[in-house]
Every structure is written in C-alpha cells, then in structure tokens.
Symmetry: C2
Subunit: 234 residues, 2 copies
Amino acid sequence: MAEEKRSRKTGGDRVAVICTALRRAIIERALSPGDRLPEDSLGERFGVSRTIARSALGQLAAEGLVDLRRNRIAVVAVPSFEDARDIFDIRVDLERQVVRHLAGKLTEAQVKQLKAIVEAEHQARHGAEGISIRLATEFHVRLAEMTGKPVLIRYVTEICYRAGLSLAVFSRPHSSECAVNEHLELIEAIRTGPADKACALMDDHLEAVASRALLQSSGARSRDLMDILAPYTE
Amino acid sequence: MAEEKRSRKTGGDRVAVICTALRRAIIERALSPGDRLPEDSLGERFGVSRTIARSALGQLAAEGLVDLRRNRIAVVAVPSFEDARDIFDIRVDLERQVVRHLAGKLTEAQVKQLKAIVEAEHQARHGAEGISIRLATEFHVRLAEMTGKPVLIRYVTEICYRAGLSLAVFSRPHSSECAVNEHLELIEAIRTGPADKACALMDDHLEAVASRALLQSSGARSRDLMDILAPYTE
DNA sequence: GCAAGAAGAAGTGTGTACAATCGGTGTATG
DNA sequence: CATACACCGATTGTACACACTTCTTCTTGC
C-alpha cells in the first residue's frame, strides 16, 4: 500500500520506474534487440501518459539500450558486431579500475553480499536463462557500487547492460555467460590478492565471457589486412 | 537560408540543436557550474516550447553536464572533487584506447586536420579563454572520432566535456589547460611511434592537464595510509 | 527588531490535443 | 506480372493547459 500511495501521490519519478523495468526486461531477454517499444503501449502498460513513456525512452536511448530514430517507433537497440567489441574493450578498462580500487579493501559485509549473489546465480543455473544473466550482471554492477564512486558506477553499470544486450545478439543460446566459479575466484582474488593479480583475473573473466560469445577481443589481434598479410609478403 | 528553411520546416531534431548549443556554452565557460537553466527561458531563447527545452535538459543530465532535481530548476552540473578525479581516471583509460587504435595509422588528411585544430588553438592562445578550452577539447574529440568507433567516440566525447566542466570548477583562471605543443607532440607520437610510446605520452599529457588544475591522479599513488607507510615499517 | 507564517510568483510535472510523418495496403498502369 | 503511386491508419513531434511544488517576499505577532 505504500507502493500504492507512492505510485499515486508523489509518483516518485515514474520515468525511473519505467526505465528500471525496461532495463531489467532487456537484460533478462524478455525483450530482444529490435523489439518495438511504441510510446502508447508503454504508457498504457505502466499507467502513465505518453509523455512519461517518451521520456523514459529518451533516457534509455542515452544509455545505448534503445534506438530512437526520428518519427519511428523506438526499438531495443541492436548492437553491431563492432559495437559489441568496443563495448567489451571499454568494459575491460572500466572494470579493471573497479578491481584496482577494491583490491584488498573489501569488508566482510561486502564479501558476504557478493557471495550471496553468486549463490543466487548458482541456484538459478538451471532455471530461466534470463534470471541467471541478470544476476551475473548484478554481480558486476554491485562490485562497481562498492567503490562508492558515482561516476565510475554509472559508466560500469551502463556498459554492463550494453554488454548484456550485445551478448543477446551474438552469443548462442545455452552458453552460460558467466561461470559462477569465475565469480567466486574473482571475489577471493579481490579480497586477498594484490591489485595486479585481481586485475588479471578480471581480464581473463571478461575475455572468457566475450569469447564464449564468439567475440574475440580486438586487443589480441589487429584485424588490419596489411598487418595480417605482412608475414606473407616475403 | 538553408538554415532558415531547416529550422522552420523539418526542425531536424531541435532538441539536438539546443544540446549542442548548451554543451558548447558550458565548455566555453559562458555557462558556469551551478548556473540555472529554467525550461521557460531556454525555450524562449531557442524559439521552442518548454517540451523541447525539457527534453534537451534531460539528455544533458544523462551526459552528466546538467543537474536535474525534482521540482527544481535545472543547473549546470557542479562536479565534486571526487567526481573530477574519477572522470580523469576514466578519461585516461578511454583516451589510451583511442591512441592504441590510432597509433601508426593516421592518414595524411587526418594529421592535417589535427594540426589545423592545434593551429587554431595557437591563434586563440591570447583571445577569450573559452575558445581555447573548446578547441583543446575538440582536439581530443576529433582524435576519438578518427577511430570510427561509435561507442568509443560517444564515451570519450562525454568524458571530455565532463572533464572540461570539472576544470571549470577546480582549475584556477589563467592556467592554460592544454599546452599546444603537447598536442603537437601527441600528433607526432601517434603518427609515427609505436602504440606504447604514444599511450605513455597521452598519459603524461592528461596527467599534466589534471595536475595543472591541482588534481593529482588517484592512479599514481594509492592514497592509502597503510600503503604509504609500508616502506617505513622495516 | 526578528522569527514564523501566509500569500503570490515562478517553475516544474504530466496529460492531452493536434499536426506531421511513416508504413502498409490496394489500385492503376505499363 | 511487376512497379509506381495514392490513400489511410498508426505513431511520433510539439505546443499548451493545468495541477502541484518550491521560492520569495511581505506581513503579522511577539
């Protein structure tokens, strides 16, 4: 009923409510890339006018989760292969920064919180695919939040969601995105280890996630025809 | 007159027009952190309704340039010291990625384009402070654009603008933000040199920009008392 | 003289109306 | 039979109206 009152009286930023719902629907793959999001339907579904729905779409577009073209129905963004690769490259940098800030500084409470998420991941392993993906994302987001740095949190969160969306496009079904034990190892490394080691582990983890989805990091090979052919020009 | 027609007929995304104008006003310091941006005035100034102005403010808020609090007049964002530090940390990572992608691959046309900007910077050196800051920012943005990677471009652009805003808060007046010769060296290093060397130079450059503004990068030293004292505990 | 409160002004939050535009369908035409 | 075109429904773009909140200022009581 507090819900009731809040949703009727103050409304407490109803745009944010829609954004959160859509983000979650996207990351859980209830919404797929390319799916249409007409303002009317959205507004009707959430009990608000088109104004609010439109504003939410604008925000999600700014986050790269929604494609907004003039006079056209908004759609869930469809990252290109290049986009996906770039997103993962940036993600590696950002999450490395998270790990660097956190290495050796996790409190017991924080470790417990992270382990709880991993536990939930473990339990969701054989349930709906979407839940497990959401939890995996949540793990990374929570990690970022523990830095207490608002700017970093914002970018990591955004890039994680975009990465999830990219995986929805390019990873084949039934490939478990984030092995839970990798997350467990990560917790241990961050809790105990030196920053370098923890960073390396995060690199490996994200690399593994990307390659499971058939992406190969652009950092590894240069993908430039001239470079590739260089050894053969002799 | 093409302008006239476009602005009246198709309107060609008038939200974007306002965003661009405000971004520029902010980066040139015509608008200072904390300055009020009432929707009415904005709409009147640009000849649009409050709807459009509001939408523009929403977008800029998503970019971190505007602070939007419920029922309150929007203001140009006022980054905290911690925000500023985080922004620069992230900026370093992102721009390093730009350099890595560009090292040894700049075309003659691109080099020329970059040098033109630096030349403009040089000429603006003794003019209005705002112009010179805008050009310095433009240099970095253009560099990012040359990667042709939309995602990277978007983040670098955003972070550069936010960095400029941070400098508006924390750097004292009359400290030339980006020495033009540093930009020239950067061009040379990227054009000729190996990626590592160019990256290092970009690091130095951004470090210099930050420290000129009395920020010390958090990456360089760990800022943790226990770590600092470690060598002395023998 | 000063603090507390009330009233008006200023500004935002949201729904709605209407114009402009897009997408699809059916029809005419070569 | 394929293509071009015109029409209509669906959907977005934008302005505006009205309710509500916040800010300002003036007044009132102590």
